[in-house]
Symmetry: C2
Subunit: 631 residues, 2 copies
């Protein structure tokens, strides 16, 4: 025990409100180690940019889980400049088709500076959308599609990307517009080649405006996180971009994002990124993080010196390269075990247990987790094809699946249907994340049973086994067990003892939904199920802070419940509810107490039966719990 934990000061922890976050610390170290860098020059081709403070330096990381880490000048506004390019291209892809855009702009790294007039000599197509020519061509397509609404549309779009309304810096816009002769030349050259099919001036105007959108480092990080999450903004939950478009844009940022620095960039840093001449850098770790930096001094390529340094350090120091992917081997199978290792909460009678026990391993339970992408489906398929020939029922629990893209769901559907064709019954449990709804013709939906709880699926599997291996039990017979002696629980008692007990018990009928016992009731009755089905329901508070009403156990004919409160004379700790119409034999404590005096041997026999019954349940439950830990 550390010194500060001596008993005297135990009830208090050291007055810490929040623990330090090591990621935040790392960001602080990054900031400190590069804030002294003095290389680079602030862009000065228009006066507004030259006004930027070269010492300004902010770093923000925004995660796919919707968390933000920031340090330095992360709330200061600057103009987005070329960082608008990937987003404008994405908007053009969204507005028009992939094929149309392919007819307008190539996607080859240019190996030339950002403002090079890098057009294909024959077609006039800009080499890629990350250079000025490509961005002007993309703006023109957006402009042409809706000349009067283009600007509003663009600002709405940037709002959905950044999670807040962005405005245009009018000074920068006017200044760029006045001095943008080279860009104007590019526009008219594109018009000449018919890449722009109408007057290029509105397109150029839109281009100048989009470059003058005012952002903070934090805005850029949220936009980067949106690209990291395949077009879904993890802070707003909106989906400004489709999955397909996001993949294309990230690829372009990977190859053409950092000007003619591109090949070396991908090799050395391996992070899709885009820089702007005002000092911003936006970088994306697909699936994981958005990163943004702001520091105005630029290197010879036009990239922020400190921004490049931060990206390099994140790549080299903490391994954030696109090519640095750790093996996810077999992360998809959360747990996989035989049916004998997991029983449903329905307590079974001795007769049912006798039938079930030799057949339990005909059931296999597999819990799947994470993203069911191609690699995930491959892992699952490889587990499924190795199922023993004895396995007749597969329970697939999907509670921890976070995503199942359409293209891989198709594979899952086929794999399950193929198993089913081989005679394996498939029960899905907690399949809410599967896109079952979105395409109603999946074979899965038609033919495979889906359960809301694993426990229900387990019970259904047991019922299937009973129906296969004991048709009589499956047929059901609500009137059997009229004689208490047939009740499994009292079987160990002699006939005479049973008769003495029966004389003291009353039969009580319930309809589905009846509360047999309510939490807090005095525990003065013992119940033996004659027919029907009874659930112990407990409100359980789980990690998410929510209360879930969960069945702790289910009792059918031959089983007894209510014994703990009855024997301990304590109030009931849970509700017991009839889930089907049924009857119980009920023993009241006053009769039990009277019996203790008049027929102690009967009471001893009853208590022994109770001890054995609860003891067996405790053994089973303890083993289940232990097994759960091993998976």
């Amino acid at each position: 025990m550390p010194d500060h934990l001596h008993n005297d000061d135990l009830p208090l922890r050291l007055g810490v409100d929040h623990h330090a976050n090591v990621i935040q610390e790392l960001l602080g170290e990054l900031h400190a180690s590069f804030s002294g860098v003095r290389e680079g020059r602030v862009a000065d081709y228009i006066p507004e940019l030259a006004k930027a403070c070269p010492d300004d330096f902010g770093i923000v990381i925004a995660t796919s889980g919707g968390r933000i880490y920031e340090i330095g000048d992360t709330r200061k506004e600057f103009t987005i400049q070329s960082i608008s390019k990937p987003f404008i291209y994405a908007l053009a892809l969204k507005t028009l088709s992939f094929d149309f855009m392919a007819s307008k702009i190539d996607v080859e790294p240019s190996g030339e500076a950002f403002n090079a007039i890098s057009l294909d000599p024959e077609s006039g197509k800009p080499r890629n959308p990350m250079i000025n020519a490509g961005a002007i061509a993309a703006s023109a397509q957006i402009c042409d599609a809706d000349p009067s609404g283009a600007l509003d549309r663009l600002l709405d779009y940037f709002e959905s990307l950044a999670g807040r309304r962005l405005t245009i810096n009018e000074d920068v816009y006017r200044s760029e517009k006045e001095t943008g002769h080279r860009n104007r030349a590019i526009g008219h050259l594109l018009r000449n080649f018919n890449i722009i099919e109408s007057d290029p001036e509105p397109a150029l105007d839109l281009y100048f405006r989009q470059c003058a959108i005012s952002v903070t480092c934090r805005d850029l990080a949220v936009m980067a996180a949106t690209l990291a999450c395949q077009g879904r903004n993890p802070f707003t939950g909106g989906q400004p971009l489709s999955h397909d478009i996001t993949v294309r844009v990230l690829a372009l940022m990977g190859t053409c994002g950092m000007y003619d620095f591109a090949g070396q960039w991908l090799h050395d840093v391996g992070i899709p990124a885009k820089s702007g001449v005002a000092g911003g850098v936006l970088a994306v770790i697909p699936g994981r993080l958005g990163i943004a930096t702001y520091s105005p001094p630029l290197d010879n390529f036009g990239n922020s010196v400190r921004g490049v340094a931060v990206c390099r350090q994140l790549s080299v120091g903490v391994g954030l390269s696109l090519f640095n992917q750790y093996s996810q081997a077999d992360a998809t199978i959360r747990r996989s075990y035989q049916g004998s290792q997991r029983k449903s909460r329905r307590w079974r009678s001795d007769r049912e247990l006798e039938i079930l026990t030799p057949h339990r391993d005909k059931v296999r339970i597999i819990h799947v987790q994470g993203v069911l992408d191609f690699a995930g489906i491959e892992q699952l398929a490889s587990e499924l094809v190795l199922l023993s020939n004895d396995v007749r029922i597969l329970i697939l629990d999907l509670a921890h699946v976070t995503e199942c893209p359409m293209e891989s769901f198709d594979l899952l559907d086929r794999q399950l249907c193929s198993l089913e064709g081989n005679g394996v019954e498939i029960l899905l449990s907690r399949a809410g994340r599967l896109p079952l709804v979105s395409k109603p013709d999946w074979a899965i939906t038609d033919r495979i049973d889906a359960y809301e709880h694993l426990d229900s699926a387990l019970e259904a599997a047991e019922d299937l086994l009973l129906s296969w291996f004991d048709p009589q039990a499956a047929a059901g017979d609500p009137d059997r067990g009229d004689d208490l002696g047939e009740q499994g629980f009292l079987a160990p008692l002699s006939e005479e003892h049973r008769r003495i007990l029966v004389d003291r018990m009353v039969r009580r009928a319930f309809v589905a939904g009846d509360f047999v016992i309510r939490r807090g009731d005095p525990g003065d009755e013992l119940f033996l199920v004659r027919s029907g089905s009874f659930d112990i329901a407990l409100d359980i508070k789980t990690g998410d802070g929510q209360c879930h009403s969960t069945r702790l156990a289910t009792f059918g004919p031959g089983l007894c419940f209510g014994e703990i409160g009855f024997v301990a004379q304590t109030p009931r700790t849970a509700h017991i509810i009839a889930t089907r119409p049924g009857e119980c034999w009920v023993l009241h404590r006053s009769d039990f107490e009277a019996l203790s005096a008049s027929h102690p041997a009967v009471v001893i026999a009853l208590l022994k039966a109770l001890t054995c019954d609860i003891g067996a349940k405790l053994s089973q439950t303890s083993v289940q719990l232990t097994l759960m830990e091993h998976y």
Copy 2:
């Protein structure tokens, strides 16, 4: 129930040996859809290559989990040709330093054909290692480092990559050597620039030999999987390449692997790949899959036509692009819950429970899984910093961590030490995958307790709480409880009943390691613990088919065990072992039976106590099991 499952034919499943695997089916469909492609021409610059059959077509996928899917001509040998280049560069990096190699070869996409003499006009450095000039330069460095041993070294290296000994096709080698005038020119030009610092002929000879290494499509897939697993061969377990080198090589394959097709390739396909003029293509999905195809007809870039088509289809059809990474948001936290939701297997006396119950939520249990890379640590850190100020003990279960790279382990170490500095005791459970051993100066190792089982960590946490909140209990007093009346379990009995019982019981002492009960023993004794500690140990067969001896429960002073066999008169189902020296009160069944006749009220009271005791344990265990399902 489907038709074929009627009861008659139940015991048999339809004679299927293995279920069809949908990934294998997909491969078959890919093969079928491209085997009809007739474009492209077989390379014919040397006669041996011209002999290749244009119809040969094989596809292999090798997974990071060590599984292989193959279809078509996957076992036919052909020469590796340029696919050797990334591996030769990697060998050069392995043999020499990164800095040295950077002085010899650039890493920029050349935008030129594979055999272009693409050297920097000033330094003479080849543009990248994926063109002939770069590969000859790399071979020369390997050759220079060990002129006589280079070839053996190279073949050993390829053996570790492919998992089998590869040989050189002597015909191809001689033919390439005889006709390789252009490559010879490149070699001498490199000598001229002093990129090659000695006679270029041995380097050229090594180059011609390495291009003539004979491989199958399957070999290439294993080599690709080795790159996918950061240099670890998932089939042999060997580590031919370091993590750092593999990342570099994949980046190069991404930008320069498919000749001047590179930018478009990364944009359209997004898979690091390398092709060879004999018809092979090797492609890597980092962290996931190696892919290889063999089909000799080449397109104008020198890439196999069908190979390119397969890669394109895998990228577009099933989403295997580098830029298509699904959000792994918060996949690292497997479960996280409060201490009140999970108790150790040590059954606690009523007195201990009274102390523990109000303080249990001072413990937090977090189960972590998968790869603890930067994003994983970030997720964990964000969970840890939100710990309530009440939390005084953190149990971090790492059983499902698959990997923890050094650079992120450093962050984990810092995060945990920072928590500890704030007064949180940290108990690690099942931390085997942490690189604790490799760097003994981690703060974690010194200051934080590590447990082999979660259960032991839970018990340690409870013991800590007891030591903090009830120093008397913590001090321990082996001689307390001399009077049976103080034993928690019999507390409900009247003093007279206890006295009657004590008269029938004997005290028995055990040393640590003693078997108190052996599985199979007759159940004729009931034990009440006076002092010491006793474990129920069960051999549990888990999913991996292994038997694990696991403790099902532990009993300390005041608790009773052995009751189920005793009451049910059945043989013991598990061992009970003394883990510390101690004593029990023992009641033999003959005395119990005698008591039933002479003092039924005592027996009834004892059985009631047993029922309550087991009932309470059953409730707790059932709730635990239910909670486990919710996390």
